[in-house]
Structure formats: structure tokens, C-alpha cells
Symmetry: C2
DNA sequence: GCCGGTCTCCAAAGCGCTTTAAATTTCCGG
DNA sequence: CCGGAAATTTAAAGCGCTTTGGAGACCGGC
């Protein structure tokens, strides 16, 4: 059933029917009701493609996911972010189209998206520090919003980010307050902007207490369980092992915990651990009292908000870029305690 | 730059240019070359929406993700499945559109998709045992393919599944061969079809050796780390605790391992564990020798293949449904060993 | 009774592409 | 040099919708 058939069936013109359905005022209440009813009854839905062609609006938003091995780590949080974004989209009537693109084809992919005109805007994932995609998208002129930020980009753009610097600074402070002095940072890939900011927060907290960061306690890598495990193994065999770990992901924190328990140490007594917790639906941090003390920020919530932000921007053309900085909560669990008095 | 402008610029009709670009034979090689070059130079891409409207093909495939809490467990594997599917789609020139739909709106969502005509086919995720969505889609007539299968559906449809029954049967057999007699099944939600099949495999192996399954060793739930942990805690306090665990997901297996180590037992000596391993990119099962003995089947690979299967079906109309059953590998790691001789 | 204004409704153009039917050009043997 | 087949090219219709520019109908005021 298409518009033509529907209007023929109603004995009205396509114009009137279209207007009635789209809420334009030039149609009497009576006929509007009649039209609405008939549409409902025949289960009529306007053909998206025709509508998009006529209006110039695709009612769809693109997500470009980099496919390189270096970004595989996006995967665990990907599902949650997407569900959050999806909620906002379906509420506003947008579709979500995903493109998985190899790194070297990023530029081509964006140009193609805008030329093919099948999205009204783009969400950018996993920004690197000086991410080339941002100036590219600015030049192209397609509305976009970034999940995260990119350091060293002058011109303003829309983004939503967790305050990674402050979160890790507060977490480090918390450990310092407990008497820890040797704190190992188990960070993500530092080419990623968020990881860079986390390290900055960690370093700032140390510097404020005149502690010089020990390079042997700084790690950056892909956030796997094994990575967390290996890092603890390696650092615990130092002459002067750390008494605390600050971990960038709960998956790596699992590995950290395993290595600690395997060494017959007690988590929260012998060794303290704080992890960042993205509040993933399938990786809850314990049930009642959280297992880990954590800097927590729901990535699903971020998805919801960033999507809404992009929609707002698309629907109010000419608006200046929107930004939102979320503060992570520092929730205390059972993985932290005062530094043991080692000799 | 659109077709009209391009053809004006070339001094040709839109027809000829369109044909040249789409590889039709009614155009001389010389002009084809000229058209191709101009298109390249002006970075011309046909407008997807116009093309879709004219051809009746959307060149897009929809994935409907159920949003209920009961399916949250889809999330961890979701990212990998989608990347696999995305590879196939981009190779074939399809877009992927995601819809997150609350359970009670599933039916409406499918009807809407077909009425709006913005996808050429649908991938169905997380089928339940007697999934109502399958007859619904068959009735609607939109091509679709299921990731998994649904028991008790008579009419044929396209699907791709891992042979869950045989995988868990072989895993159970492997444990039985090692002398284990009390094997605890840590399964997923048994309303999900795959979980049901896994239990069937487990039971078949026991029955073949005339062992009656102990209901106190059968668990079904959402596959979290805590779930694995709790299950071990609970079962190890039985009079006659199990000597082996058969686990449905590597995330739960992490919890199983934690409980075992916390009880000062040695994995692979005191207690054996086999887990199903979806070969997720961010949750590798160890680096060299796998940590866990596992029934392994790459979910990314499944995504790739299922997408290809659906594309094939879409592009050869009138074809009968396609199906593919993948066998999981049973890879031996360090988590299994002979049953200890308990008295 | 006529006129301007307000409500309703409609015909037709246009979005950018494909494709059918037809026109034009080219080619070649006779 | 011609006629007809083959090779190229084109005009125009159509995909299903929105939207512009009017056209009738109806109203109150003069």
C-alpha cells in the first residue's frame, strides 16, 4: 500500500493525504481523522527511500567503526554504546547504519558516505590523539559528533567524553591518601586519546605530591585479561613491587585479580586495585557491594547522550558545536585498603 | 555532483552515463572509458536513495537486536558477530542497519521495516526455542536468516548455527574419558535455543554411559563472571561436589576459575573445566597454549558466513532456504586432567 | 450582490536515479 | 552509392514521496 493507492481509496489527492499524515495545518480535522484511520487500518508506512529522496533527509545516522587490530579493544564496549545510542535514535525516528572500515580506507569511506547521501550525520569512535578524521569531516561538512575527544585539534567540534584526566587523578589521589606510593598504571593503548588523558591524570596526582613516576610501573597495551595478569606478574617480581594498581578496564582487572590471588596475596589488603568500569551490562562489577573500587561511567549512557547530542545538532542547522563532559563516579569497593607497611 | 550534471558536463544523456557506470553492454568502450574517468575525477557517487527508489533494492540489511534484559547476554558476542557480518556486507556493497527493539514491539518493528522498505533482508539474533518471530517473518515474506536455530519450527528457513549439541556432547565425553563422573553444567538461559541444545548434548553423553544427571549439578542463567563464581561456590559445598565443570561462556569461566583458585584448588588437577569459547577478539583464551580446554567456534566467522548466506539468498530470488551447521573444535588447554581419586 | 479573506483541497513539478521504447549513427556487402 | 542490420545514443516515463502555486468553497461586511 503506497500513498497513491491510499489516496485513491480515500478519494483524496496525494497532497492532502501526505499533509494529513505529516501534521500540516492546511487540512480539516475531520479529513485528517479519516486519513489517519485509513492509514492505520491498511498499515500504511511511507516508503523511507522515497521520503528521503523528496525531503533530502535520510533519517539515518552512520557509525564508522575502524577495523584495524589496534582498535579491537573497542569491541567490548561497542555493544553497550550502540544500545544506548539506539535508544535515542529509535525515539527520534532515526535509523542507525554501521560501517566497518579498514584504517587506510577511512577517508574514502567518509567521502563516499556524504556522496551517497544515506546518512544525515556521523558518530566517530575511538579518536586518536591528533585524529585526522576530524579535520576531514569538518572539511566535508557532514554533521558529526565524537565519542571521546582528540587532543591538539584547534577548531571546535561536537563531542561527548568522560573526564578521564580527573577520574584517574582522583583515583590516584585516593590511593595516595591510603598511603600507597608505588602505584602501577595498567593503561590502554596510549595512541588512543582517552588513555593519554588517563595517564596525564595519574601523573598530575603524583606530581602534586612530588612523586616521580617510575617508568617501570607504566604500562600501555590492549586491555585483555592476560595483559592484566602478565603485568602483575612482571611488576611483582621487581625489587620494589607496587602496592597498588590502577587499571583501565574491568577485563584487565580480572587478570590483575587472578595474578594477585595466584600469588597468595589478598586483594584489598596486600594489594589495592582501582579499575575503570564502563558499567557494561554483561560485566557488572559485583552485585551488591562492588568487587572493585572503580571510576565508573556508563558507556551505554554515553551512547544515549551522544546520539541525542548529534540529533540536536542535525535538527538545528547552523548551530555551533555541542560538547558534554561527564564526570566518572569514584565508587568504593572491596579491592582497596591502606598500604601495607612493607619494610 | 549528480547524474544530470555529470552527463551535461560530458555532453551525453543520463541514460548513457548511467549505463556506462553500471556496466551495461549497450555503450561503446570509448565512451565508457570517458564516463568512468569523469566520474572518478568529479568523485561522483550515485545517490543511494534515488538508486534504491528506482531499482527497488535498498542495498541494506537489517539486524534486529532484542532489547530485553533477558538478552543482554547477547552483548559480549554482539560486537564480534557484527564485525564479521560487516566484512561481508562491505565486500558486497551492502549497508548494515541496526534496530534495537523492545521485546513487546518486535512484531511491529518487522512490519514497519518491510513497509518502510529500507532493508532487503533481516538477520535474526538470539532465537528462542519456539521463536514466534520466525513464522512472523515467513508470513511477511521478507528474506531473513537466523543466527542459531529454533527448535520446533516446521517450515524451513535459512540459518547458520554451531552444532551445540555435538560440541557439548564431545566435551562431556572428553571429561568422562578422563574419569570424571560428577560434571556440573554451567549453562546459559535455557529459554535460548542454543542453551537447550547444549544441555541435550551433555545429557546424551551421560546417558550413553548410563549416568543419571544430577539436577543439583544443572545450572542455567545469564553468563556473567559472578554467575560462574557463585555456581562453583555453591556446588563445592555439596557432600559430593563435582570434579568438573562444563561452562557455556568464557566470561563465566573466569568466575569459575576464580572460585576454584580461591578455594586453593588447582585448575586442571583438582578440578577440570571446559568452556565454550566464542573466540572473541578481546577475550582470547590465553596466548600460546590455551588456558581453558574449550569447544571453540569463532562468532566473528559466523557473522561473516551468515551475512554471506543471506546476501546469496537475496540475490537469487526464489531459491530455497540455505542452512549451515558449523562444528566447534575441541581444543585442549591446561584446565583439564584426569579425575582425582577422591574417596 | 460583490469583494476580499480564510479554509480546504488539488494538479503538477521535482528529488536523482533506472529503464523502456525509439531515434540516430555507423558499417558493410552488393 | 544504397538499404538494412548492428551499434550507439537519447527522450521520457516511472519509482513514491513532498511541496509549490493555485483553484474552489464559504464567510462576513459593505
Amino acid at each position: 500500500m503506497n500513498l497513491k493507492q491510499l489516496s485513491a481509496h480515500l478519494g483524496l489527492s496525494q497532497t492532502t493525504v501526505s499533509r494529513a499524515l505529516n501534521g500540516y495545518p492546511e487540512v480539516s480535522e475531520e479529513t485528517r481523522k479519516r486519513v489517519m484511520q485509513a492509514a492505520e487500518q491498511h498499515n500504511y508506512r511511507p516508503n523511507t527511500r522515497a521520503k528521503a529522496l523528496a525531503t533530502g533527509r535520510a533519517m539515518a545516522i552512520g557509525h564508522v567503526i575502524p577495523l584495524s587490530t589496534q582498535h579491537e579493544m573497542m569491541n567490548p564496549i561497542f555493544g553497550d554504546f550502540i544500545s544506548g545510542a539506539g535508544e535515542s535514535y529509535s525515539r527520534a525516528g532515526y535509523d542507525m547504519v554501521l560501517s566497518l572500515v579498514a584504517d587506510q580506507e577511512q577517508s574514502r569511506a567518509y567521502h563516499e558516505m556524504v556522496a551517497k547521501r544515506n546518512v544525515d550525520g556521523i558518530v566517530l569512535h575511538a579518536p586518536k590523539m591528533r585524529d585526522a578524521r576530524i579535520p576531514l569531516l569538518q572539511e566535508i561538512g557532514l554533521p558529526f559528533a565524537v565519542h571521546g575527544r582528540a587532543t591538539d585539534i584547534a577548531t571546535p567540534y561536537s563531542w561527548l567524553d568522560v573526564n578521564n584526566t580527573s577520574a584517574f587523578q582522583r583515583a590516584t589521589d585516593f590511593l595516595l591518601d591510603l598511603g600507597h606510593r608505588r602505584i602501577c598504571l595498567v593503561n590502554g593503548q596510549e595512541s588512543m586519546d582517552f588513555a593519554f588523558r588517563r595517564r596525564r591524570g595519574y601523573e598530575a596526582a603524583l606530581k602534586a605530591r612530588a612523586i616521580v613516576p617510575d617508568p617501570r610501573l607504566l604500562f600501555a597495551g590492549e586491555m585483555t585479561e592476560v595483559y592484566g595478569y602478565d603485568t602483575v606478574r612482571r611488576t611483582q617480581s621487581l625489587d620494589d613491587p607496587p602496592t597498588a594498581y590502577l587499571v583501565s578496564s574491568i577485563i584487565a582487572a580480572f587478570g590483575v585479580r587472578r595474578a594477585i590471588e595466584e600469588a597468595a596475596l589478598v586483594l584489598g589488603r596486600d594489594i589495592s586495585v582501582i579499575t575503570h568500569d564502563d558499567d557494561l551490562s554483561y560485566l557488572r562489577n559485583g552485585s551488591d557491594v562492588p568487587v572493585f573500587t572503580a571510576t565508573r561511567s556508563s558507556v551505554r549512557d554515553a551512547g544515549r547522550k551522544l546520539a541525542q547530542l548529534l540529533i540536536t545538532q542535525i535538527e538545528t542547522p547552523g548551530s555551533s558545536p555541542l560538547t558534554e563532559l561527564l564526570e566518572a563516579e569514584l565508587t568504593v569497593g572491596r579491592s582497596t585498603g591502606p598500604a601495607p607497611n612493607r619494610i
